[in-house]
């Protein structure tokens, strides 16, 4: 009876089996650790680098068998990508396969991996040490997968906040799309400001537009004008009724008096001539040609009333204080002819006819119109007295690049529920994502929408440390005072020209140092009657018809204030040097781009009159280093010696169309 007090064989067997199983499973733990994906990847790299490198270089190579980590505390990033991407910074591996290959391009030269990591630009899960978890492709529970080539510029934009980042074409285009579409009117968007917004004030719109035009416009702005900036709000007919009633009732500022004008004497042909001479097409499109700063005028006659247009041309600021439109010094007769031309020749024959009868409008309808105006956030673009501080109608877009997208946000189940897809659809057709979206339809082209998606994705939630961000200072508003300021305001110089970074972008000539570039006498005559210096340009300075005194005032001020002292230095202009310069002009091939006496290219300005136009100090400085004065200019740097630059200057200063040869 001793046996019961001993463990039976059965138990010993169970013990042995369980013990061995445990040993096996414990070995499996070790095996799993030492067969980790990154270890085998590194082992293969080791084979590769033995083939590619010489023994000396090999001894300097990164140690294998450990995890390589880039730790960036300020970006809150830990990137272990170099654990597998072992040749990324080493040109020797340029033809090696992934993941060992060298990084293409020169990007790592400006973005050293030890300072920027990998995921800052590429996205993905930097902490991971295997392919799948690194989120090379989207994975569950990691919302920031690696960016595809089409989207990678979104990550550039997280740091590069300047409006036009270098070498990020899509991002730049996207930011332009956002600025032009006026998204800032309804959404707070970091990097964009309301000052960029341009839309007419509507307090006196009842005097301005024809009722039948207004209905067409409200129904679909693009139907009237393909380039219309206003989006389609998808208004129902009752809303169009009430909104137009409300708008037509807005009559705050009556137009300037045109009662004394004898319209029967109007001459449309003379009006057409005035239109051409004033170079209206610099800003306004007509039949598909011309600038886009102002509204297209092809069918303006169907849009606005005659009296209002007369008033507007006479003084654009009368009811549009902030307009970009300048105030020409036209006579009343010239304006009459011009208005006649615009309102009678430039009409849309298909537009609905004016209904002449005056109808009684219920105040309730107008009130409903006001409600619709507020509901659709019209006040966001059209500044409206009595509608301030209503707030922006849309949500802030801060952090839109990190917004989580659920499959439920898509009504069309066929679309991959990703953030870019959602933004793309939202931009293209807001009504297809949610039933009650108040966002209007902008009719963005597909490339425009895609670019805007890139720009939007660059707006991240967590802000980066200041040291990581590059930006350009926002230009400070520049409003000159005094007589000069009044003239600048009247002729809207800063609608097209820039100075100190402030102003429009239409003109290629910034005013910052114009007084040191151009001769005074030339400035005076040019302001009075601008002549084309670049014949190939469509958008030329308008003929303001300003008086000689006005031109002198402007020129005096420009010559006195808008100067760069470094350009105001004497250049010896002797005949010998001029002869050498003339030879240089030939050997360098200047004629390829510049014309002289009617021959030569027209990429650059015509130089026939440069002796009377330009100041020698400027010519010399410009020729020595054009890119310094105008980044991106088509004038290349020839690397001229100082003596050569002086010779060319001397030669150019002899050029003049005035046969008498007089110099100022």
């Amino acid at each position: 009876m001793r046996t019961p007090q001993r463990a039976s064989v059965r138990f010993h067997l169970a013990f042995a089996v369980l013990g061995v199983t445990f040993l096996a499973i414990f070995s499996w733990v070790f095996l799993k650790e030492y067969l980790a994906e990154w270890r085998t990847t590194q082992a293969q790299f080791d084979q590769l680098q033995r083939r590619v490198k010489d023994p000396h270089a090999l001894s300097l190579a990164a140690p294998l068998g450990e995890i390589q980590q880039i730790w960036l505390p300020d970006l809150n990033r830990v990137d272990r990508c170099p654990t597998c991407h072992l040749g990324i910074d080493d040109p020797a591996f340029v033809s090696a396969p992934e993941p060992y290959t060298t990084h293409p391009g020169a990007w790592l030269r400006t973005h050293a991996p030890d300072r920027f990591g990998c995921t800052s630009c590429h996205g993905g899960q930097g902490e991971a040490t295997d392919f799948r978890n690194a989120a090379h492709q989207p994975i569950p529970y990691w919302s920031d997968p690696m960016r595809s080539p089409q989207l990678i510029e979104a990550n550039c934009g997280a740091c590069h906040r300047e409006r036009r980042p270098r070498q990020a074409v899509w991002l730049e285009k996207g930011r332009e799309v956002i600025a032009n579409a006026g998204c800032i009117a309804c959404h707070d968007i970091p990097g964009f400001s309301l000052e960029e917004l341009r839309a007419p004030r509507l307090e006196s719109v009842g005097y301005k537009v024809r009722p039948e035009w207004l209905r067409t416009w409200l129904a679909d702005p693009k139907a009237y004008l393909a380039q219309a900036r206003m989006p389609n709000f998808r208004l129902e007919p009752p809303e169009i009724d009430s909104l137009s009633a409300f708008l037509l009732a807005q009559r705050e500022t009556a137009p300037l008096d045109s009662a004394g004008i004898d319209w029967s004497k109007a001459d449309r042909d003379r009006g057409r001539t005035v239109f051409g001479e004033a170079r209206c097409v610099t800003c306004h499109r007509l039949e598909g040609r011309g600038g886009t700063m102002g509204p297209e005028l092809t069918t303006v006659g169907s849009k606005v009333g005659r009296a209002w247009l007369f008033s507007f041309i006479k003084d654009p600021t009368h009811d549009q204080p902030g307009t970009l439109m300048l105030r020409y010094r036209f006579t009343d007769d010239q304006i009459r002819d011009l208005v006649a031309y615009l309102t009678e020749d430039l009409i849309d024959p298909g537009a609905p006819q004016a209904s002449s009868e005056v109808r009684y409008v219920e105040p309730a309808l107008i009130e409903r119109g006001r409600e619709a105006f507020v509901r659709h956030g019209c006040y966001g673009c059209h500044r409206f007295s009595g509608m301030v501080d209503l707030g922006k109608i849309g949500p802030s877009l801060l952090g839109i690049g990190d917004r989580a997208i659920e499959a439920a946000d898509f009504r069309n189940a066929a679309v991959v529920p990703s953030r870019p897809n959602w933004l793309f659809l939202k931009l293209r057709a807001p009504d297809t994502l949610a039933d009650q979206s108040r966002m209007p339809t902008f009719n963005f082209s597909e490339p425009d929408a895609a670019a805007a998606v890139v720009a939007l994705l660059s707006i991240r939630r967590a802000d980066l440390p200041v040291s990581r961000v590059t930006d350009q200072p926002r230009p400070v508003r520049y409003e000159p005072q005094g007589t000069f300021g009044a003239l600048v305001a009247r002729y809207r110089c800063l609608s097209c020209h820039q100075t100190r970074g402030w102003g429009g972008e239409l003109s290629t000539v910034p005013l910052d140092r114009i007084g040191s570039q151009l001769q005074h006498a030339y400035l005076v005559s040019y302001l009075q009657l601008p002549s084309a210096v670049r014949v190939s340009l469509e958008e030329r300075m308008p003929w303001f018809r300003m008086t000689r005194e006005e031109a002198r005032t402007l020129a005096d001020y420009l010559a006195g204030v808008f100067v760069d002292d470094s350009l105001e230095r004497p250049v010896p202009l002797d005949a010998d040097a001029a002869r050498r310069g003339a030879r240089l002009y030939q050997t360098l091939g200047c004629r390829g781009c510049h014309s002289l006496g009617g021959t030569g290219g027209y990429v650059g300005p015509d130089l026939s009159d440069s002796g009377r136009r330009l100041k020698p100090g400027w010519i010399e400085a410009w020729l020595s280093d054009p890119g310094r004065w105008k980044p991106g200019t088509l004038q290349p740097n020839y690397g001229l010696k100082p003596e050569e630059a002086r010779s060319l200057t001397a030669y150019l200063m002899t050029l003049s169309t005035d046969r008498s040869g007089s110099t100022p």
């Binding site: 064989v9 010993h12 369980l18 013990g19 061995v20 070790f30 995890i67 730790w71 830990v78 030269r109």
Partner: protein
């Protein structure tokens, strides 16, 4: 095989497996405890462009615990960590280094003059990065004759 032998065999198989696993467990624990990545400053770090350290100066970089010298012969970096018990030493121009904790004194080259410090102060190798920044490598000990020229 009779019963007791079988029993003994099975028992010792089980015991061996368990003991092996236990050893493995100890080994695994030891391996687990040694970290594979470090969240600490790298051993190579840039300290700024050479122009930030004018000739004839000694600059204390507290965040890196070292002195950077620029004398006519070139740049050199000396650790500010006292070899005795790790306090930061102070630099006294013309005399050398003094440790405030236990009174160790070092000469200008970091050699022990007197005091409890057992070893001279460490010297670190320098290099120039592609972005023209001085880079210190704390894992590259150098001799006191070392001078780095830009």
């Amino acid at each position: 095989m009779n019963d007791p032998t079988r029993r003994r065999f099975l028992f010792s198989t089980g015991v061996t497996s368990v003991v092996l696993s236990a050893c493995g467990f100890l080994g695994a624990t030891a391996r687990y405890l040694s970290p594979n990545v470090l969240y600490e400053p790298p051993h190579r770090f840039p300290i700024g462009s050479p122009e930030e350290f004018p000739p004839g100066t000694a600059t204390f970089l507290p965040e890196h615990r070292l002195f950077l010298f620029n004398n006519p012969a070139g740049f050199y970096a000396i650790s500010s960590v006292c070899t005795h018990l790790g306090c930061n030493v102070r630099h006294i121009v013309g005399e050398g280094f003094a440790c405030p904790c236990h009174g160790s004194r070092f000469d200008e080259n970091g050699q022990v003059v007197h005091g409890p410090a057992p070893e001279p102060l460490a010297w670190f190798g320098l290099s120039l990065s592609p972005r023209r920044e001085l880079v210190v490598n704390t894992r590259q000990p150098v001799q006191p004759e070392y001078r780095f020229r830009v």
